[in-house]
Amino acid sequence: MKWTGDLAHFPYPFKGSTYRYSNNSIPMKQPYCIEVTSSYKKEMLFKRKLLSDHPERCYQSLPHSITGQWEIVEIVIDHLVSQYPQDFSIEQENNRWIFTNKILDEKKEFIFGEKNSLPCEPLFFISQHVQEDLIYMRQRDDNLYLDAGQLCFPANWSLAFNIGMKFKSIHHPIPGFKEEGLDQRILQFLMRLEAGTPWERLNWSLMAGDRLDTSLETFNQWGRLRKQVTSENAGELVHIRVEVQKLFRLPRTNSILFSIHTHLLALEQLATNIEWLQQFYEILSELPDHIVEYKGISTYKKAVLKYLEKQLQQVKTL
């Protein structure tokens, strides 16, 4: 699913001429955990199909996460209604809620806090109305645990395996992350997150193909495309994958909502902005091997660099 909006609105992730892992979080200017884009309808249909065809891959929860799931329902509906009043509305009479999604022409009635008033768990329900993947991290004693999540568009990881896992264990596979002490630093940052002060960060990787659902479970379907990248087709085939990650403290359960909105942009689209082209070329040329490897770029890094060089040459000769 390619970027169809205005390029100026693409969440371009780089600053400077080098990239290293860091907690590049900033306080949000618009404190909303969700965003509705022009591909809303298309992505919702796709997401719902994944959720119903592969529920164990796309949805996991531990029994004690239900109160936190209701908190997510409350915050997501509040943000949808405040930000897009023409598309979403809520009628509340005590605990009886009627949620209307005008884009999909749907009306849902339920009793807030009453699990049996919905046909599925609260997080599953609300995730069918937003493009974001929604992850619930519960603060238990001195750590954060992935206690529930709806994840349709992962960047090569498995929610089913990571459910119930501590923050540092989740990030164990990232080379250099622990060695540099970053896992402890970011955990510390997250544990101090406060209600009323949400944060946002961008994460990126490259991928061959334009699939949103690059789960670990389906690696054998999409991973092979990496071998087909050449400097001729890279512009069309290779995409930069940017995750807009938003972090909210949920005050009722003292937990964290982590929403992930994934955007894909073909390199040929990125290359139309000359500053981006130049900067991305510099960053990729300099990128340390362990990051190249972890982001799955090793197989086709040379081809991409060659493609970018060609584009830069053309710009210079113009």
Binding site: S158, F161, G164, K166, H172, E217, F219, G223
Partner: protein, 151 residues
Amino acid sequence: MSMDAVFIEGKRKYIFCSDEHGLRVLSSVFENVKKEKLAYEWYHFSAEKRECLEEFLSKQKMGTFLYVELPYSELHTVQMMAKRIGFSSDETQYFGYGEKWISIFCCRCHELNRAEEQQTGLTCHQCELKLEVSDHYSELYHAFLGYPATG
């Protein structure tokens, strides 16, 4: 899991739980506890007495430290039991001996596969994907993640 039991000072009572084979790593700590004239109890474990152990552990008060040395085949069950009762990782040390098997979580079909501790690769017995054993561990599944084998 470290190889040697470490004596943890300042507890009001020490519990040693083991079967007759598994006394090796606990003996030095045990000598220490005796020398210091500290309160202790030995629990002689056998698989049939697992329920008694649960009752015994549940009766303990705060300030108790638990040392366990058992065959790997029993260790995890006892570990989970102690955790359920309320013994935290700061109040316990566990040591296993004998044959050790590990579980491998198939990244494609989520099936748990049994493997030997040193094994680096296997084929998932359910979906037949070739897996590479990683060191990414899940406490919830008590299993390591198996990634798609490369090459």
